[in-house]
């Protein structure tokens, strides 16, 4: 028989009748940037969570209106800085839709290949930081080891690691360098083994399961109502993928699955992204095998910069080069909305032209912005520690939210 517990050590389980408002962030490490949450707490239970954003607002959408179309590409790199090639793609494809440009097949295939590599890289940062937030440090190093290889590939192709600006309106900046395909093949051969490593580290981990299962619930109807997209929506069992729904870049010709999980919680979103790593790998392998020699620039001398050698030899190429750089190219008046499936969900670009060399309005529908707006619903009624897990599972990038 155990001794009677002295009264001062008796555990009293009653909810506090006082509510406390605390500010989480903007410098909190698990808010992935500068996000501030205003939390109303009852003990450790979240009564209300109100996100406060805008700390990183840099007026990018205003800046687009003062820059020529080709100058806007470098601004897009800095929005979702974990998925810059996705931003480049949405922007240039909106411009191409306004212009009515046809893109050569090789350029399309390279775009698919690079975007899938970038999606893997983005998911790896998510996985590393999400696990780190929950307390599993090791995963972070494994993820960044793999991501480093992808960044090296992107650097080889474009010259930039985090800000590649590789795509241009009308094609690519330049063709892939010699030896790229072999390096890429080597990476893809090793990558599935690495995914298995991540699974060994996390998926069977009881602590990780307890921290994520049944946390941050959002039903399919609510998810659609809140405009969730990407892995967050698929984690609620809705098989929606823009690559399938409104295919672009020839995605309709690739064989891949749209993974969904029915559980609607942090764990489900984790599993969706883990399965997407393998799907992206599958698409990248297919794209690599389909690479055929050919041009990577559209046949539109007034829009696409000429080949460097041609510029030095032909007068018309030199004139076009000069005019495009100095004055830009005129885009016919009109407006388009171009959605793509970025690593975080539906990334849509609304672009409006008045006919000049600068857009009159560019608007980015950032998936992080919309996904974050559903956070109050997911966090309500949970514990403070669960908020960290929920934010991690949303995979937000503040650069894109605040723009």
């Amino acid at each position: 028989m155990s001794a009677a517990i002295p009264p001062q050590f008796e555990v009293v389980d009653r909810p506090l009748d006082t509510q406390m408002t605390i500010s989480m962030g903007p410098q909190h490490p698990s808010t992935h940037g500068v996000l501030r949450l205003e939390l109303v707490l009852d003990g450790e239970m979240v009564v209300k969570a109100t996100p406060d954003i805008g700390y990183l607002h840099t007026g990018m959408e205003k800046l687009f209106e003062y820059k020529k179309y080709q100058q806007g590409i470098v601004i897009t790199d800095r929005m979702d800085y974990l998925n810059p090639l996705g931003n480049n793609l949405a922007y240039v494809m909106a411009g191409e839709k306004l212009l009515g440009l046809e893109i050569p097949e090789r350029a399309q295939t390279i775009r698919v290949l690079m975007c899938e590599l970038q999606r893997i890289a983005s998911h790896l940062v998510w996985l590393g930081t999400h696990a780190l937030d929950i307390g599993a440090m090791t995963v972070f190093f494994y993820c960044f080891r793999e991501r480093e290889k992808i960044l090296n590939l992107i650097e080889a192709a474009s010259g930039g690691r985090l800000t590649p600006s590789y795509f241009r309106i009308g094609g690519l900046m330049m063709d892939l360098p010699a030896g790229f395909e072999n390096r890429c093949k080597q990476f893809l051969n090793d990558f599935l083994g690495a995914v298995d490593e991540f699974h060994t580290l996390l998926t069977g981990n009881k602590i990780f399961q307890n921290r994520t299962q049944g946390v941050g619930y959002i039903s399919a109807e609510d998810a659609i109502d809140w405009g969730l997209s990407g892995p967050c929506l698929r984690g609620s069992g809705v098989a929606l993928d823009i690559r399938r729904a409104n295919p672009y870049c020839g995605y309709e010709n690739y064989d891949f699955e749209v993974p969904t999980e029915p559980d609607c919680d942090v764990w489900a979103r984790y599993m969706v992204r883990m399965r997407e790593l393998k799907e992206s790998h599958k698409i990248a392998v297919q794209a690599l095998s389909r690479l055929k020699p050919g041009s990577v620039k559209a046949d539109a001398p007034k829009v696409v910069l000429p080949d460097r050698q041609a510029m030095k030899k032909h007068m018309d190429a030199l004139i076009h080069h000069f005019l495009i750089v100095a004055e830009g190219f005129d885009v016919p008046a009109g407006e388009v909305y171009f959605p793509i499936e970025a690593s975080k969900g539906e990334l849509g670009v609304y672009m409006k032209s008045d006919g000049g060399p600068k857009p009159s309005r560019v608007h980015f529908r950032g998936p992080s912005f919309v996904n974050l707006s559903a956070l109050p619903d997911m966090a309500r009624g949970g514990m403070v520690a669960d908020i960290v897990a929920v934010i991690g599972s949303l995979d937000i990038v503040l650069g894109e939210i605040d723009r």
């Binding site: 607002h57 539906e346 609304y350 008045d354 006919g355 919309v370 707006s373």
Partner: protein, 178 residues
């Protein structure tokens, strides 16, 4: 250095192709509610329907539940300033998407400079909440019956609306916390 943005010389009306026949779905919608459709623009494979501001809430809730369209997903909502001289000056664009039919429409509301009020569609899609706050913040469009119409990207005490064409790129003066 930065130059002024190009003045809009082409009014949005000129891209309208009223002689072009709208798709059967748009025609069916137009038959259903003729006074909700001011104009239909079919351009570059995208359907734009210009809706009078007073009917936008009714149009949105109808299109969300109408089985033919089933627009249950609001992709995006954004404002546009067509230029200080333009009349009507502001546009609000609603990009609708259906998670079952995979089609997209754009609804457009045109607003005059004097009357920048439009009904909030937060009651139709909750995701409209932040989009409308952003449009209010950057363009000064006021969404009536919005549950929480505050600035979202810029500070509470910011003067003016930054994405209006008459707002200078570098602002009026450096912002400092008061």
């Amino acid at each position: 250095m930065e130059s002024e943005p190009v003045k809009s010389e082409v009014s949005a009306g000129s891209t309208s192709s009223s002689e072009q026949t709208p798709s059967p779905l748009v025609a069916a919608f137009q038959r259903e509610h003729p006074d909700w459709v001011k104009d239909v623009i079919e351009d570059r494979g995208e359907t734009t329907i210009i809706v009078p501001a007073e009917h936008i809430l009714a149009t949105c809730s109808f299109l969300k539940t109408w089985p033919e369209t089933h627009f249950d997903f609001l992709s995006d909502l954004c404002g546009v300033d067509r230029g200080v001289e333009e009349e009507p000056r502001f546009e609000v664009n609603y990009h609708l998407f259906s998670t079952t039919k995979y089609h997209r429409w754009r609804l457009k509301v045109l607003l005059n400079d004097e009357n920048v009020h439009v009904g909030s569609v937060t009651s139709v899609w909750r995701t409209a909440n932040w989009h409308e706050r952003e449009t209010y913040d950057l363009f000064g469009v006021i969404f009536d019956n919005h549950p929480d119409l505050r600035r979202i990207l810029l500070p509470e005490d910011w003067q003016g609306h930054a994405l209006r064409k008459d707002f200078p790129l570098r602002g009026y003066e450096p912002y400092s916390l008061k």
